[in-house]
């Protein structure tokens, strides 16, 4: 479903070029739960950013449902909005928007009317146990609640792929378990593909595929 073919990525630091990924290949099927682990600085986030089309590889290409993804800016924005949901280590919620508005935002950007987007967002947040937090602002929510809202925002457009970059990195054990359970539940109920970068091997063990990023390769 989602193929990464021979991608390489390097960063320029002054006159020095640091290669982070080299001829990396990965084939992900629909409904896969993929964990990517590795040391700090091994390139996990870089790989996720490339898979999420937030960055461009130096070489190689990405294919979705056997079609190469166009590199044009507009096509990338539209693809990302429709097919990929992001969950980051930091929640990145909009401070001026309530929980339900934050979740509704990607749906509205995708073209859904605001009232319909709000209705979908309410349903999603209620399913995540946040029915009493719908109209709270991010600063009125706990860390775990903020991250659940961020997950709901990633899911609102029913993306085929959820990319989560250390989604539990800032949470305590209880909250972390709660978030992972939500992600696993979504995978089993909606067959959404989950690609997750983490340091936590216990979380990685709950996924059906586990890759270790080492020496610029998986």
């Amino acid at each position: 479903m989602y193929k990464i073919k021979n991608i390489s990525k390097s960063y320029q630091t002054g006159e020095k070029s640091i290669k982070v990924l080299e001829n990396l290949c990965l084939d992900i099927e629909k409904g896969d739960m993929v964990a990517i682990t590795g040391k700090s600085g091994s390139g996990k986030s870089t790989l996720l950013h490339l898979m999420g089309l937030l960055d461009n590889p130096d070489t190689g290409e990405l294919e979705f449902e056997d079609k190469p993804i166009s590199a044009s800016m507009k096509a990338v924005e539209s693809f990302r909005n429709k097919h990929i949901g992001f969950v980051f280590q930091f929640h990145y919620l909009m401070a001026d928007f309530t929980a339900v508005e934050n979740v509704a935002l990607p749906a509205a950007i995708a073209g859904l009317s605001w009232s319909k987007a709000i209705a979908s967002a309410k349903e999603l947040l209620c399913n995540m146990g946040l029915s009493d937090r719908l109209h709270h602002y991010p600063n009125q929510l706990s860390g775990g609640e903020q991250q659940r809202v961020a997950i709901a925002r990633a899911l609102i457009n029913k993306p085929a792929i959820i990319i989560a970059d250390e989604p539990t990195g800032n949470l305590d054990k209880a909250c972390s378990d709660e978030i992972i359970n939500i992600l696993l539940g979504l995978n089993s109920s909606h067959q959404q593909t989950l690609i997750l970068a983490t340091h936590d091997l216990e979380i990685a063990s709950q996924m059906n595929k586990h890759y270790v990023l080492q020496d610029k390769k998986l």
């Binding site: 950013h49 937030l54 960055d55 992001f86 280590q89 990145y92 001026d96 990607p106 925002r153």
Partner: protein, 409 residues
């Protein structure tokens, strides 16, 4: 609701009151003060120009007929010009006038003046004589009744009911005992105030018969004044030339532009040059807009990054910022216009500083507000400020979501 409207609503109604942030307040003040200064200057200049024009065209007329070669019109001339003017749709009213130079004196005090006949019983509408009566009456019931300018009265130290001796220099004749002037004691029944110092310190209005006495009864009138319909006032110069041609040069036809055109051209030039210079204040204020907008964009870079990540294009994000800034700058420009008008009113109503009439022609600061010119100022300020908005907005398209996200929270 579109994303744009949603953001606008959030901008004004959010819990953080973003539009009221400390650094933004200085940006708003910069716009309000610069636009206010421009508007105050502009409406005072407009007021000066407008009042001067009103005074000049109120006391005087738009087109004047003179008899070349001599200073008198015969009854036949007046009838001929009357017939000619009656056929012209541009003419509102006309009157024949007897006028001349004189000296007014009360005891030791003597001042040069300009006497002018007025048909006070039949208000032809040619002069604002009746409405310009400042004190006393406009009615010249007795043959020797006169109305004099407010400042002429002050210079002579006279009040209503006082007598003043008028000595005409227009009818001087040489006799065996030397030069003889027509002299008569006149009674002041009213003071005239047009706002134009030159007129208020020189003009004396009297009955036609009395004016004829001072000119030795040698002619029926020495001037024919024509008031044009309001729509034709600015065509006075063209009409005067055209009528002069139609009358085969029999009479000299001159417009108000001939006598005052240079003054108004100078005033207009001065007004626009000063407006242009003060408009630079808005340019300076727009620098503040650049820095404040840049700061806002840098502060919101994470939000911008996440918006881009969830699919909102850089152009749409820039449009959100642009609309917010445009709305706020519009509100500030309108506030600046009202502040400028309020300041103009304050300056025109205050009594501490007045103009020296003998220098500035008018003795009071006036304002004049033209709605369309205020719209023009709004448009200019809006364009300048919004051009400066483009500079920080370009940063949004340069921002890469990946760079923002890599930096974490």
């Amino acid at each position: 609701m579109s994303i744009l409207l949603l953001y606008i609503k959030k901008f004004f109604c959010s819990q953080r009151h973003e539009w009221l942030k400390f650094d933004s307040v200085f940006m708003y003040l910069g716009i309000i003060i610069s636009v206010g200064a421009l508007v105050t200057t502009f409406i005072i200049f407009e007021g000066y120009e407008h009042t001067l024009k009103k005074a000049i065209l109120g006391v005087n007329s738009h087109i004047y007929f003179f008899k070349p070669g001599s200073s008198d019109f015969s009854e036949e001339d007046i009838a001929e010009i009357g017939d000619f003017l009656s056929s012209k749709k541009e003419v509102n009213a006309y009157q024949s006038v007897v006028s001349g130079q004189a000296v007014a004196s009360v005891g030791e005090r003597t001042r040069g003046c300009f006497f002018k006949s007025i048909d006070w019983q039949n208000d032809t509408g040619v002069s604002i004589y009746k409405e310009a009566i400042f004190e006393g009456s406009h009615e010249l019931q007795q043959e020797n009744d006169i109305v004099i300018g407010k400042y002429l009265a002050q210079q002579l130290g006279v009040s209503i009911g006082d007598e003043v001796q008028i000595m005409s220099v227009s009818s001087a004749s040489v006799g065996a005992t030397g030069i003889r002037y027509k002299t008569r004691k006149m009674t002041i029944v009213g003071f005239f105030y047009s706002g134009m110092f030159d007129y208020d310190s020189r003009y004396v209005f009297m009955n036609t018969d009395t004016a004829l006495f001072f000119t030795n009864n040698i002619y029926a009138a020495n001037l024919i004044e024509v008031k044009l319909q309001p729509n034709y006032i600015n065509q006075a110069e063209y009409l005067s030339l055209s009528w002069d041609k139609e009358l085969n040069g029999q009479f000299q036809v001159l417009s108000w532009v001939y006598f005052n055109g240079n003054l108004f051209s100078l005033l207009a030039l001065e007004k626009w040059v000063l407006t242009f210079i003060i408009a630079f204040l808005i340019v300076v204020a727009s620098f503040n807009v650049i820095t404040t907008s840049l700061a806002a964009i840098i502060e919101k870079r994470k939000e911008i990054g996440i918006l881009k990540t969830i699919g909102l294009s850089g152009k749409k994000i820039a449009l959100i910022f642009m609309t917010q800034n445009s709305l706020m700058s519009s509100v500030c420009i309108i506030a600046g216009i009202f502040a400028g008008i309020a300041m103009g009113y304050l300056i025109s109503y205050q009594t501490m500083i007045s103009l020296r009439g003998e220098v500035y022609l008018l003795d009071k600061i006036h304002i004049y507000i033209d709605f369309w010119k205020m719209c023009l100022i709004f448009a200019i300020a809006f364009v300048i400020i919004n051009i400066s908005n483009f500079i920080p907005l370009r940063q949004i398209s340069k921002m890469k979501e990946i760079d923002i996200l890599r930096q974490g929270s």
